[in-house]
Structures are given as structure tokens and as C-alpha cells.
Symmetry: C2
Subunit: 244 residues, 2 copies
Amino acid sequence: MIGLVQDVGVRSDTPATRIRRALKEQMDTGLLGPGDKLPPERELSALFGTTRITVKEALQSLEAQGALYCEDRRGWFVAPRRLDYNPMYRSHFHALVAQQQREASTRLIAARQEVAPASTCQRLGLPALSRIVVIRRVRSLDGRAVMYAEHHLRPERFPDILMQDLTQSLTGLYERVYGIRYGRSRFEIVSGAASGEVAQALALREGSPILQVTRVNHDEAGVAIDCDHEYWRHDAVRIVVESQ
Amino acid sequence: MIGLVQDVGVRSDTPATRIRRALKEQMDTGLLGPGDKLPPERELSALFGTTRITVKEALQSLEAQGALYCEDRRGWFVAPRRLDYNPMYRSHFHALVAQQQREASTRLIAARQEVAPASTCQRLGLPALSRIVVIRRVRSLDGRAVMYAEHHLRPERFPDILMQDLTQSLTGLYERVYGIRYGRSRFEIVSGAASGEVAQALALREGSPILQVTRVNHDEAGVAIDCDHEYWRHDAVRIVVESQ
DNA sequence: CAGTGGTCTAGACCACCAG
DNA sequence: TGGTGGTCTAGACCACTGC
């Protein structure tokens, strides 16, 4: 253990740590900017003289920090900055995004009546096996799919809503067409994992971490009339809440 | 591809999927309950006829979903249920936990004056290189460390606070000893990754996903007087916010 | 000190995306 | 169809935990 020619300047200098540090440095100095694509994993492993598994481990740890993201079978990219999102303002997604000088788009996946899942029956105070309107959409920020949303509505409060243009703001639609004004609402925010349709819609691996926002909206009389399930890419959003 | 003796009942029946499914089933049926320890990775890999890397991948994906958690070099455990936490109520952690029929404890890590990091100067509207009081604590739920908190205070508003018992509720202390009553506050919630002291305090691997809650508190005159940085185990908490 | 997870090597084949 | 990440095998040694 004497006089070996080694890097001893940095403690715990494992291969994965070296890769993380090198990539971070490139991002800090701006040599790699938001949206840039990284070289393929095989190339990185040759570059750093290690195996793909080790490279992947370093990349995944940067992904967990929100510094990088991965598109399934397409490659690794530097993450854009987060969107500030205040779930208390039922602000229109497009307006919110425009305020932050970015570009929004919405894709409708499905809109139909379905039998409500048990959790929605509970939240909306519906009897078992009730039918609800379900609207599924994917929202993109600067061309990148960042959020999958599922809206569950009491059908009797929203007649013929399936005939409407459902790529616009639903909040606006509720107010304009159905004269619905909200009273209190309740949110729950948990960190979860992408699976099935959510993972597919957001181009995420099964099991990638996501931020799950569930909201139950009540009318002015206190009746729960709809609930939303939003699944955000964990690196795409910063939730902001102000009290008073 | 004809007549091979295979499981064909389930699509995408990869080794990792089989392991996930088997473990989930054991948890659903209660054969594995909250807090239970899983067999060692090596044993699981023998059991499922696969390698440790594959087993680990399955375990990590259940960890991302919040179903399992891992204590560094100690083993894998079934995750307890989440704590409901409403950051709008500046409710005392111990009271909150007791309300949910669970047990809380607090460990003081450090309390001293330090030079404020730039982000805290910005948030509290302090000049560069100001000194602040920093209090670092770890909070446990039923004996498991679930949250690391760092409190940053304007020192002139909290004279001699370092002489106080800092394992109790700080909110209570502020009010009782310093007569401080809050006006508005602002939260930010982002999903991040554990590193350094946070990872160590929560017995997490470097890079494990966490939920980061930052709060800036103002007095009744609108002056920012302190800010908190909370780092929650991502599987330990459900954030609940009610509006109106 | 034994047990456990943390990390790593050096390959292999598969599944999906884009040209 | 070629390139990419997704997944997997079959080992190895290290570092920390707790007896």
C-alpha cells in the first residue's frame, strides 16, 4: 500500500462515482445542456473503462436526482428545468406553462364511461359499482411527455361532456359549460412508481419513480363532484403551495 | 414454439416479474406483514433460480413503489403504512404521529450558528455571508428514521435558542419562548435523491429517492424569519393539503 | 467473525425505435 | 435493419452490521 500510482485525491472514488462526477461537471459547466443526448451506454462504458452495468448504475443515480432522464430504448438526456406547479390554483395547464415561457401540449388518450374503481367510489361518496366518466390525457412540456392525468367525474353533473373538445382545459369547460364552481378541495401527494399505461405514456421504465398527485374537488355545497389522478415525471415538477 | 412446457398464462413473465409478483402476493395475503424482514438476497436468488442482480432489480422496483425498503447492509423489509402529513398545519410531529396511533422520536444531530448557504440567504432575504442558526434533527416513526430536517433561523429573532431543549417541537418553542406567530408560509415539494448526511441519517443508499419539502415561514408582518428543509423517506409519507 | 448488502467484471441475447 | 437500452448469467471481492 505504499507509493502506488493512484488517484488518492478523492475518497470513495469508485467507478460509479467517477462517472457521476464527470457527467455532473460537464453539466455544471454547460458543456452538456438541458435536452442534450448523452453518448450510448456502451460508448460510456468504454470511455470510463468499465462495464455497462456500472455505467447504468451511475446514470440511474443521476436520474434519481433529477439531473438526467432516460427514454426507453432511445437514450439518456440531460433533464430540463422543473415546472413550478401550484395544485391549489386550478390554473389551466397551458396558461401555467406559458407563464413560465415554455410550451405545452395535450393529447387525449381516452374518454368514456366506465365502472368506477373502489377508491373513486370512496372519494366521491358513490355506491359500489357506480359508473363514472373517465378522461385520460397526457400533457407535454416542450415536447416531452411529463404528466399522465386521469379525471373521474360524476356523470350526472357533466351531461354530454364526451361530445366536447377534451384537449382544452377541463376546469374552463366545467365552468363555462356546466357552470360548476368549486368549493374546497383536497390533495394527496405521494411518491410512487410508474406502471402499465402510465409508464408507457411517459416513456418510462416500469418502476421508475413518479410523483402522484390526487385531488378531490367539491362544489360549493360540499359535495365531491370529481377527482383527478396526476402522475408526474418526478424530475419535471416542483410543487409549490402557499398558505394564507 | 409449439407445445413447450412453459408458463404462458402471464405475459412478459421475466424472472424479475416473477419475483415481484411472488413477493407482492405474500404481502397481499399477509404472510409478509409491515416490518417483516425478507430472506437475504442470496437466498432469494437460489429460491427463484436466478442471480443476485436480477433479485436486486426486482427488490428495487418494489422499493420504488414503496412496498419494500432496504436498510444498508442489514436487509430488506416490508414497508409500514405511510404517515399522513399536512405541511399547512404547523402541527407538532409528535402530536401528529400520536393522532395516527404511532410512535415518534426525535434525535438532535447538531445545533449551532453557521454561515448561511446562498439559497437560505435568498429565501430569508438576508445579505450574502449572513450567519444563521442551524438545527439538524432526525425524526423516527415506530423506531424507523423517516425524516431528516434542517431548520435555518434568523439568529436575532431567536436569542439563546441553542440553550433550549431542541428535541421538542420547535414550533411550540418559537411561540412559547419567543412569542412568534406566523403569517403566510410557502412550501416547495420536489422528489430528489438522498446524499451525504441525509442518506446516512436515514440509513439509505446514496441516490435513493426521497421527498424534499422546503418551507419558508413569515411573521405576521410578512418578514421571512425561518426556513425548514425536510427530507422524507419517499415511502414513509403521504402529503395531504386541504384548500379553503 | 460470520452474515449481509454494495459494487463490480465480462460477457450474452432480447425488444423496441428510427431510418 | 442497425442502434439503443432492457435484461440476464455466474461469478468475485469489499464494507459494514451485529453477534
